[in-house]
Symmetry: C2
Subunit: 218 residues, 2 copies
């Protein structure tokens, strides 16, 4: 796994720009659950994901959480770099959901390259729009969709990510993804079980009727 192969616009950068990224990018190995960034940290810069998976979430003062999105290899996290365009702090947290390899491209380098490279600047615009679109979609879902529908969608997303019908995940974690209470997740999962959509056992959930879950999620 090397930096070049993970950075989607690598081939479009000039050799000077490549050199700047190569010299300044810092490689990190994260173990699962490590909180790599939070509102109180300094401006990190862009995070390039080499392997593993990061979760970007917001949280309340009393510890409630809501996942904004998850990032996979070759994805770039730019919410950790708000300071490169404006002195602004975003109130987000980032954690590794699996052991992950990342590169941090420091904000000073990003700032410099952004001020001269139309390729890099346009790339950031593009990612930023897709993040806004994703956040707005999520916002609408949280505001106006039923917990049933959102939970069905979450279980299917999880199945897709894990490539497994049996999910090893606690009700608490699901609640933190969905921005709801654990009790609500447990109650809804039990209702799903009584409709034979899932089979619950200690520490895992098996999806037993994908078609019905799909229908519920749409």
């Amino acid at each position: 796994m090397n930096f070049e192969n993970c950075f989607p616009i690598w081939s479009k950068l000039t050799s000077a720009e490549r050199g700047m990224f190569t010299h300044s990018a810092i490689h990190h190995k994260l173990s699962s659950g490590t909180l790599t960034f939070s509102a109180s940290s300094d401006c990190l810069g862009l995070i390039l994901i080499g392997s593993g998976r990061l979760r970007i979430f917001i949280s309340s003062e009393d510890g409630k959480e809501l996942t904004l999105f998850r990032l996979f290899p070759q994805d770039i996290c730019l919410l950790s770099a708000a300071c490169i365009v404006k002195d602004m702090e975003l109130n987000i947290s980032i954690e590794a959901e699996k052991p992950s390899e990342i590169w941090i491209m420091p904000s000073s380098t990003c700032k410099e390259i952004m001020s001269q490279s139309i390729t890099f600047s346009s790339y950031l615009n593009q990612i930023m729009f897709s993040r806004i679109a994703k956040i707005l979609q999520l916002f609408e879902a949280v505001m106006w969709e039923s917990v049933d529908k959102r939970l069905a969608a979450f279980l299917l997303e999880e199945r897709h990510i894990e490539k497994n019908d049996t999910l090893k995940i606690t009700h608490e974690k699901i609640a933190n993804h969905m921005g709801t209470a654990r009790e609500v997740v447990t109650r809804t999962l039990k209702a799903f079980q009584s409709k034979k959509l899932v089979q619950l056992s200690r520490g895992s959930i098996t999806l037993t009727d994908i078609d019905q879950l799909l229908e519920l999620s749409e």
Copy 2:
């Protein structure tokens, strides 16, 4: 009111870029309430606000609404131009809250200038980050703050915008701003009145204790 004075980065553009904007920008006068853009419309392009006020909101299938933000003279709406960076549709609506003068900078022009002007591209990055920050702040408020706190904050914001302690606004409109039900707004306003924070009368709300409202909103 002319285009140049309303466009914050005008002086930083090249004369060729200025020419392209001047020749392609379309001037519109909107009367209050006109819906200028919705999810079903084609990609409009960037909207530059000359005078008046626009409201950007999301809405549910059954007509519930939530205001994302409001735009004032010299602001730029870029959520109407998602297509310039990516073929993507954002599910947002825009309406004029007051009679407004706007210029629409067509997406084709924006696309062309973005591909060559680092000034313009960086400017879009900057606005985009502040929009993300605003949307995330709102998201957190909607998720985790009490209706009391959010309503107090809304009344104070409205007072600031209107420069008046007496607000001519219906409970229904407030509910649509806040993404809540009219009944909830009415109930909370009545509670505010019994605490002498506001004085309600037909079609208007007078803020009678600004300090208390401020405290409640913080």
